[in-house]
């Protein structure tokens, strides 16, 4: 039951205890999924990304260096692969053209062939990005371009099909008014749509916009917010502003055209670990160390929509980008069908007596297969809609 309903979950959250939680906001239910059936702290989820084929598969990066495949259609883990190399947890996970891109804390970025049956094959490509990576992000428009950044590790944009040198290497801002070097700590990176620009948020509470197309390697725009490190960032649907969260649980929307603060969102009590906006609706999902998943409405009016208490500390989240928030347009029809078929079988039971005992189970099994086939046929139709 939970497995069948898994594809209607709106938000998928990864926790510190290794559990993947699927939350259905319409039904207000949360379901736990684990690979081994028991929560294990060694499998703490550190990165999540959608797999190939729309939003039917999720790639879960765990702290022990494995990447697990989870199918939302079936609601269970399908397989895993070891991605060894480098120390530290996964800081970024992406997939392109049947290959898997992983980046770990110590700066080793590897591209793997995505046949999860093979336990450990050598990586197709390996890049050393520099130690202390905090985030690796893939450009949604050009999937073979990735950006990395971290603590004392400046922003670099890499082309995985190109050379070993980065496409763009950001330069640090000028020395401050005391002539001291400004430290670098890029915590989160986002690619702005319809341009080559990137936005980063730093641990020194700055939000910076870089433009590789312009001759200057220094940030084009810099804005500051608050006094605490900014840990997560997401783009709003219109693309003119970003929403950032810091270690105190403060969420703010910052306009990128002027570098102004547009407004704040309240409610979180702990450090923000994951933020994602819906691509078309004005909804923002946020999760953090206070163990609560919150959905905020960003405009008209700005406020909290849903709040779900999930018992473990939440590390990262994936918000489903589908348009119809209501689930199961087909399922109400199926229960109607099942009773009618039951009445048919009842009649059969009545007509076929003891002589047909062997045949009846076969008949029911074929009925079940037919239903499953019907369901399977419907699935491609439902996900595409």
């Amino acid at each position: 039951m939970a497995a069948a309903a898994a594809r209607w979950n709106h938000v998928w959250v990864g926790t510190d205890t290794g559990i993947l939680k699927g939350v259905n906001l319409q039904r207000k239910q949360a379901a736990n999924f684990t690979a081994s059936g028991q929560p294990r702290r060694e499998e703490a989820v550190s990165a999540l990304c959608w797999g190939a084929g729309g939003e039917t598969q999720i790639l879960v990066g765990c702290a022990d260096g494995t990447v697990k495949h989870f199918s939302t259609e079936e609601g269970r883990f399908q397989g895993q692969r070891q991605c060894p190399g480098g120390e530290g947890t996964f800081r970024g996970l992406a997939q392109v053209d049947g290959t898997l891109i992983t980046c770990v804390d110590s700066g080793i970025l590897r591209v793997w062939h995505d046949k999860d049956r093979e336990a450990s094959s050598d990586p197709l490509l390996e890049l050393r990005v520099g130690p202390g990576v905090c985030r690796m992000r893939q450009d949604p428009a050009r999937p073979h371009i990735v950006a990395t950044g971290g603590k004392e590790n400046a922003l670099k944009v890499w082309d995985l099909q190109g050379s070993e040198e980065p496409l763009f290497r950001a330069k640090n801002v000028r020395n401050d008014w005391l002539d001291l070097r400004v430290p670098i700590w890029d915590q989160d990176i986002q690619f702005l749509p319809e341009s080559q620009k990137l936005v980063t948020c730093t641990g020194y509470h700055q939000v910076r916009v870089y433009d590789p197309a312009s001759p200057q390697r220094r940030p084009v725009l810099e804005a500051t917010y608050g006094e605490y490190p900014l840990t997560a960032m997401t783009l709003t649907p219109e693309g003119n502003s970003v929403i950032v969260g810091n270690t105190h649980g403060q969420l703010a929307e910052i306009d990128l055209r002027q570098g102004r603060l547009l407004g704040c969102l309240k409610g979180l009590a702990g450090s923000v670990r994951g933020l994602q906006c819906h691509p078309s609706k004005p909804l923002l999902a946020s999760c953090g160390l206070d163990r609560v998943l919150r959905i905020h409405r960003i405009r008209n009016p700005r406020g909290l929509e849903h709040k779900v208490y999930l018992k473990s500390q939440l590390n990262c989240l994936l918000l489903s980008g589908r348009d119809n928030w209501e689930d199961e347009p087909q399922e109400p029809q199926e229960p109607n069908k099942v009773p009618s078929e039951d009445t048919e079988t009842d009649e059969l039971w009545a007509s076929l007596e003891a002589a047909a005992k062997r045949k009846l189970p076969d008949w029911e099994q074929t009925q079940g297969v037919l239903q499953a086939r019907r369901r399977k046929k419907k699935r491609p139709g439902s996900t595409s809609s």
């Binding site: 702290r41 605490y228 270690t247 160390l289 163990r291 473990s312 500390q313």
Partner: protein
Amino acid sequence: MAKAGDKSGGSGKKGLKRKASTEEAQETAVGDDGTTESGVQSPKTAAFPPGFSISEIKNKQRRHLMFTRWKQQQRKEKLAAKKKLKKEREALGDKAPPKPVPKTIDNQRVYDETIVDPNDEEVAYDEATDEFASYFNRQTSPKILITTSDRPHGRTVRLCEQLSTVIPNSHVYYRRGLALKKIIPQCISRDFTDLIVINEDRKMPNGLILSHLPNGPTAHFKMSSVRLRKEIKRRGKDPTEHIPEIILNNFTTRLGHSIGRMFASLFPHNPQFIGRQVATFHNQRDYIFFRFHRYIFKSEKKVGIQELGPRFTLKLRSLQKGTFDSKYGEYEWVHKPREMDTSRRKFHL
């Protein structure tokens, strides 16, 4: 007519009282010549336009008089009602309906979804593998370092000394202006498990930072109502070297559980304890009361207690993941007064 109007206008008793007062008011108002009657005579049948209240009388003395008379009437009626209820209860005896429970803020507490269910496996696993697991598995025994903010005054110093007698295996060190971030690696190398810093302001201790050491959470509390040993009335003699028992009351939510475990990990874990000393951390309405007593069982059910030791009240300000790093650390919970203190019936611990 007006009487009826009054009765129908007002609600029950209020209508009656208003009738009495309005009658008097009318008497005093109408009877210009009957000034002698004001305030002394019992109310007569007089009517007043409904909606008249005592506050509309412009004369202050008369208004005050009216009000005191109304108040006395109220009190009399309330007493009469109570007596009547009591008589009815006695008359019914056993069949009397149970007494209604008075509403208190603790009773009316808003339902908190984070209250831990004892059968919850996920929370149980989370707690079994958190930073205090090594203490609760008896792998480490506590060793505490107590210090203060820089240049403490007498009260704070004495509080530290008394705290070190209350908490076994604790050592007090003078702060000497050292940065906490430099003290912490040194403590870890010397096998300390917890660090307590008592912050002082204007010669009074007002804050407590409790940091669990290898990489554990740091809790920052506001401290108030500090009473040293000599300020406690009817206290017993000084505490002995016995390891105290610990009582943690009312830490129900998930955050409360974390803080409760933090307090529990300060004291050595020994179910077969000797000695009759007990340290209590009682949480009520998000305030944690610390008391230290010595008890003696006089019989099966009667126990005598003597309060020893210092006494103070704590309120949690923030819980930070990792050792002390207020600027760059990640916070698990931060108290935000304008967002979290809007309801008087909502508590977080």
